[in-house]
């Protein structure tokens, strides 16, 4: 009897998980979604004072939990390094990867993973001191540009300046903190990185208003959640979680009014919220899955504004991430 106890102690460390079952069954048995996130990415995944992860990426994890389990709080966040993130997904350590991961052909086709959509259209941009009066990247000829070594940003930067026949001095740093410190100390006129990161770096300046992010974007960095290949049911759940949030925004359903919208006679809203037909059944989840997402997490506009947009410190304009009928390119297929 005693031996059994000790054995139990040992086995519980090894924490076996059942991989033979479908991901949804695993998630339901465990009663939580294991979501791989960034350990520290302002606006996308960061710990707040109360030990909660806040950010666009982590809200997507919560939405997936709301859809799959009916409870947005049933998420185990697993902070992952940029190198081990794919291994963690492949080996089943996490069910979904929502970690500012750029969707590229190579990753999508050769790593045994599938990207389910684009949760944030990112791209490399430039930040300049506002007193320089620069309006466009075309005026940056001869500028000293701070960037981080070994990143695609460095490569994009040299391509961009070469294509436009402009000269620049690269001032290379190791980490975002160092590069913003270099920018603040006047080592360079321009700081270049992914736009989402630039806004976070700008917040670290003593006076954020002294710098502006130029509107031009010189590279495509579509960020989105990814799942393991070979489980189409789970792939669909994650994919439609994002689509449901986009559809909810498009139909004007928000966290606040979702209960009133249950009585709506707009057929699109009725289908989305599970009042007409059951669109969860085919995915193996409840009929009110989209209702739970919007009720517990919010529509796309809400999670965007809360984490990176107008209600956050970053105040990033919607831009490409606006809805298709509102100047952006976020477009979700209809639910019917």
């Amino acid at each position: 009897m005693k031996t059994v106890r000790w054995l139990g102690l040992g086995i519980s460390i090894l924490a076996p998980s059942v991989a033979m079952a479908s991901t949804l069954e695993t998630v339901q048995n465990r009663d939580s979604v294991r979501c791989g996130v960034n350990a520290a990415q302002p606006g996308f995944s960061a710990l707040d004072d109360d030990d909660q992860y806040r950010g666009l990426d982590t809200d997507i994890c919560r939405a997936i939990a709301a859809a799959a389990l009916g409870d947005a709080s049933k998420v185990d966040f697993v902070p992952l390094d940029s190198v081990e993130r794919f291994t963690a997904l492949q080996s089943g350590e996490v069910d979904v990867l929502s970690r500012t991961t750029t969707w590229t052909s190579n990753r999508d086709t050769s790593l045994g993973i599938n990207f389910t959509g684009v949760s944030y259209y990112d791209g490399q941009a430039f930040m300049v001191a506002s007193d320089l009066g620069v309006q466009s990247t075309k005026e940056l000829d001869g500028a000293a540009v701070c960037t981080q070594s070994g990143t695609t940003s460095e490569l994009n930067l040299s391509d961009y300046f070469r294509i436009h026949n402009m000269a620049y001095d690269a001032v290379v740093f190791d980490s975002p903190e160092q590069s913003i410190a270099g920018f603040e100390a006047g080592r360079c006129d321009v700081l270049s990185s992914d736009a989402s990161q630039l806004y976070a770096q700008r917040m670290q300046l003593a006076d954020p208003d002294r710098a502006v992010v130029l509107p031009e974007i010189i590279s495509k960095e579509p960020l989105g959640p990814a799942v393991r290949q070979g489980d189409d049911q789970w792939f669909n759940i994650v994919k439609w979680t994002l689509f449901a949030m986009l559809n909810a925004e498009e139909l004007g359903i928000s966290q606040e009014n979702v209960d009133e919208q249950l009585d709506s006679d707009n057929p699109d809203i009725m289908r989305l919220l599970g009042q007409d037909g059951d669109f969860g059944e085919a995915m193996g989840i409840e009929a009110d899955w989209a209702y739970q997402i919007v009720k517990q997490v919010g529509n796309y506009a809400e999670i965007y504004d809360r984490n990176v947009g107008s209600d956050s410190d970053f105040n990033i304009a919607r831009g490409l991430n606006g809805l298709w009928n509102n100047g952006g390119i976020q477009y979700a297929p209809p639910i019917r």
Partner: protein, 366 residues
């Protein structure tokens, strides 16, 4: 005729020979060059200390809950204050923190008990510390037994995790290191070559590679569905890595013991283990205290590398906190806090080792 002997009464030494003024004179202002250097030194100190004190104490903000409570003229300790629980316990559920507190209290009590010479029952306390306490700590921290809710290891973090990693690493590495060191000096070819290969392998790879292998490669080799907890992976990697270094420190100590000691013990008819356990190791370990503590201190600092496999040790949780949009730009405060915590522990270890050296000194010190 009797001479009048005038007895000069004892007087204190003139103030020019003793006291702080004399000390200053002999040590700092003995000649012009010395005086110049002293003045330059004082000026540099002034340049360094005044802004630091102003930043860290005088202009610092201590009370509040948000970044708006910080004037940004000095340090914003509000940030460390708001995050303190997180820095100490990581993401350990707030309602269960009492469990971590019991473990902390037990941990420090045991250490104090073992370190303070007056307290009795050292042997039993040591046995409990090595055998009983780890089980108690595991049951309390991990839960799942006696109706304690389970707290998965990925929620452990902060100083708690740093201490856990360092303690397990030290307690595990020392005996393995002793065995490896003895094995390397053994005459048995298989034992010897195994130990040599083991030590040279682990010393030949950087710790960061070991951790990376454990977190990136190992899961790919495991049968699908079986995953070893990442904390356990890190602990095993860290312990094996440190035991190789420990083995070489101990081997150095063993070599310093004259061969005559072991031969004399053998002449008395002692077995190998008795010779080692009673004669050689007690003398060798005593001499190796600086080397062992050196390894311990470097292990304590190496634990920060677990950050790369997604564990939030003290430094990791500080860095994670720096990404919170509500606290962007307070990295200096965070790093100063982490450095201070690390300094406290490393410095204590260093002082304790010096105390041990003095206590165990039997006059062999040269």
């Amino acid at each position: 005729m009797i001479h009048n002997q005038t007895v000069i009464e004892q007087r204190p030494a003139p103030s020019s020979a003793i006291g702080p003024l004399a000390w200053l004179r002999t040590n700092l202002f003995s000649d012009p060059i010395n005086t110049i250097f002293t003045l330059i030194g004082l000026y540099v100190l002034y340049l360094l200390v005044v802004p630091t004190v102003q930043w860290a104490f005088i202009n610092a903000d201590w009370v509040g809950t948000t970044r708006e409570d910080c004037s940004r003229e000095g340090a914003c300790w509000v940030f460390v204050n708001a995050r303190f629980t997180q820095f100490i316990y990581g993401l350990y559920p707030r309602a269960e923190i009492w469990r971590a507190n019991i473990v902390f209290a037990g941990f420090f009590t045991l250490i104090a008990w073992l370190a303070i010479p007056r307290l009795p029952f050292k042997r039993w306390v040591a046995v409990f510390a090595l055998v009983g306490f780890p089980v108690v700590a595991y049951v309390l921290l991990h839960g799942g037994y006696f109706d304690l809710p389970r707290v998965p290891t990925h929620r452990w973090g902060g100083l708690m995790l740093t201490l856990l990693l360092a303690t397990v690493g030290m307690v595990g590495a020392l005996p393995i290191g002793i065995v490896l060191a003895l094995g390397r000096r053994s005459n048995m070819p298989i034992v010897k070559s195994f130990c040599v290969v083991f030590i040279e392998f682990w010393r030949g790879v950087p710790l960061i590679t070991v951790l990376f292998m454990a977190s990136v490669m190992l899961p790919l080799f495991m049968p699908s569905g079986i995953s070893v907890d990442r904390l356990v992976r890190a602990l095993i990697g860290l312990t094996l890595f440190q035991s190789a270094y420990m083995a070489e420190v101990i081997r150095g100590g063993l070599q310093a013991i004259p061969k005559g000691q072991e031969e004399a013990a053998a002449a008395l008819g002692m077995t190998y283990w008795k010779r080692m356990g009673l004669i050689v190791l007690p003398q060798a370990l005593k001499m190796m205290i600086p080397g062992i503590v050196n390894t311990f201190i470097s292990l304590f600092k190496d634990t920060t590398l677990v950050m790369i496999i997604g564990l939030f040790d003290l430094l990791g949780i500080v860095q994670a906190a720096l990404a919170d949009s509500r606290w962007l730009g307070f990295s200096l405060e965070g790093y100063v806090f982490a450095a201070f915590m690390f300094w406290i522990f490393c410095f204590s270890m260093s002082r304790y080792s010096q105390y041990l050296e003095r206590k165990l000194n039997t006059g062999h010190k040269r």
